[in-house]
Amino acid sequence: MSSRPEFEDLYREFLPRIYGYALSQLRNAAEAEDVTAQVFMRAYQAYDRFEPRAATPAAWLFRIARNAVLDHHRRTGVRDRAEQELGRALGEGEDPSRQAEDRVLFRELLVAIRRLPDRQREVIGLRHRSDLGFKEIGELMDCSEDAAKMLYHRALKALRAELDPDG
């Protein structure tokens, strides 16, 4: 049975998850809110074309979210190494009021995720609280299920190193 849920139900259920994903892929809460708003605006306009038998709501929404994040990166021109450098700067001397804006536990963990290379950061964001399996993550990231798993485990290792450089 794959009936189409009401859009408002999807919206209420997935808003925090999409926001959490965006927050970990972008630089701050304001950017995450902008991108989250774009995701649900686009999803609402495309909802008539959403086919529940072809994709789960989670896979459909996270695909829109991933595209919105990539668009955002393209627009702002903040990519790759430049963004990693900025991530370090944010993590070290950030304005405390901005830290409060992030509204998330374990803020040092969030900062460490933002420092990861793009694909590692993405796989971490897509894996947690998303309802996505590695097969769906692989499809979103244009790689196989096994490659997605491997990427994820590399990302965990890199994240541990970020959190505990001496460990």
């Binding site: 408002e8 209420r12 808003l15 809110e33 509204r103 998330v104």
Partner: protein, 356 residues
């Protein structure tokens, strides 16, 4: 590997705690609504009327039929005079049936009713009973009364949620958000404590949670039973209703108990969330026999992905499940069937009083 698991738990909690600012959810929803094309706005305006159409039609038939009877038949106070049946305990006073009228069906519950198995027989027989193959139920059915109470709350507005969050925050001394009810996950409005990391050196999870809840005046006002969730990371003050002298738990569709949940990591309390306590109306509704519900479970189980060995259900328990509507939500009685590899939730309210 242990390090990975610990890191993954922290990631789960971090992503689980991420929330935009309090008003963002409602503001964005209004923006989305404002962008609806006019045909959809019109359709949304007409939707409540579409939902009510069967009830309005039935009411029209009653009115016309009643009028015809009054005009053509002398009623003379016979027992056939139209109802004041269906005592409405504190609810509405619809003369067409129980207090709240037709109820929304729980999400994910079976929609079609298959015939009860021939062997099911009377209630509460400690018998081995086969449901529609290849799924089976082996166990004892609970004995059910003819009616059970349904509880109803009004969904709080955005302003009421903000006020409730402020009140909880000032009472607890914590940062608190209040979320609207969520139909898809069968969750009533919830309060969520943010950004807490309270260090408490007590020997057990339950004692740690209790100390936190007491210190922050979060002890639920409803009947509850304290239980440690399977993952061993949270202590749940599982909500219950007292029905005919028995305690009936509130459950989510997948079978987990529902109530105030305190997340504990060692001696550290890292979060808490629970149902917002709202005033409840109550009304009695007719329920169907457990054997009929069991028959429906066969239909529900057949919709699940087949597993190699099939779904064996061996425990049946009456629970309350939250059904969230647009302006109000309900706690409705249901039969929770559990067993190896699966859970099936079957509404107990008579099918005549459930919308599909």
């Amino acid at each position: 590997m242990a390090d990975d698991r610990d890191l993954e738990r922290r990631l789960e909690r971090m992503y689980g705690s991420a929330r935009p600012r309090a008003d963002f959810e409602d503001e964005l929803w209004h923006r989305i609504q404002a962008r609806r094309p006019w045909p959809r706005k019109l359709a949304d305006l007409l939707r409540p009327a579409q939902r009510l159409a069967p009830m309005l039609a039935a009411l029209l038939v009653l009115v016309i039929g009643g009028g015809w009877l009054a005009a053509h038949v002398h009623l003379g106070g016979s027992p056939s005079t139209l109802s004041s049946t269906g005592s409405s305990a504190g609810g509405g006073t619809s003369s067409a049936g129980p207090g709240f009228g037709v109820l929304p069906a729980p999400p994910g519950a079976a929609k079609s009713i298959s015939p009860a198995p021939a062997t099911a027989g009377a209630n509460a027989q400690p018998a081995e009973q086969a449901v529609a193959p290849p799924y089976s139920f082996v166990g004892k059915l609970p004995q059910l009364p003819a009616t059970l109470p349904v509880y109803r709350y009004r969904e709080p507005t955005a302003a009421a949620r903000t006020a409730a969050a402020g009140k909880l925050a000032s009472e607890s001394g914590l940062r608190v958000d209040v979320q609207a009810g969520r139909p898809a996950t069968s969750q009533e409005p919830q309060f969520v404590v943010r950004g807490v990391e309270a260090q408490l050196s007590l020997p057990t999870l339950e004692e740690t949670a209790e100390a936190f809840v007491t210190a922050h005046r979060l002890t639920p006002g409803y009947l509850f039973q304290v239980t440690v969730a399977q993952a061993g990371q949270s202590v749940v003050y599982a909500r219950q209703f007292q029905v005919n002298g028995a305690s009936v738990p509130v459950a989510r569709p997948a079978g987990q108990v529902a109530g105030l949940s305190v997340e504990v990591d060692g001696n550290l309390v890292v979060g808490a969330h629970g149902p917002l306590e709202l005033p409840l109306d109550v009304a009695e509704y007719p329920v169907r026999p457990a054997a009929e519900a069991l028959g429906q479970a066969g239909a529900a189980a057949a919709q699940l992905p087949a597993t190699g060995s099939g779904l064996l259900l061996d425990k049946a328990q009456v629970v309350y499940v939250v059904v969230v509507g647009a302006a109000q939500g309900y706690y409705e009685p249901a039969l929770l069937l559990t067993g190896s590899g699966g859970t099936v939730l079957v509404p107990l309210i008579s099918a005549n009083w459930l919308s599909h």
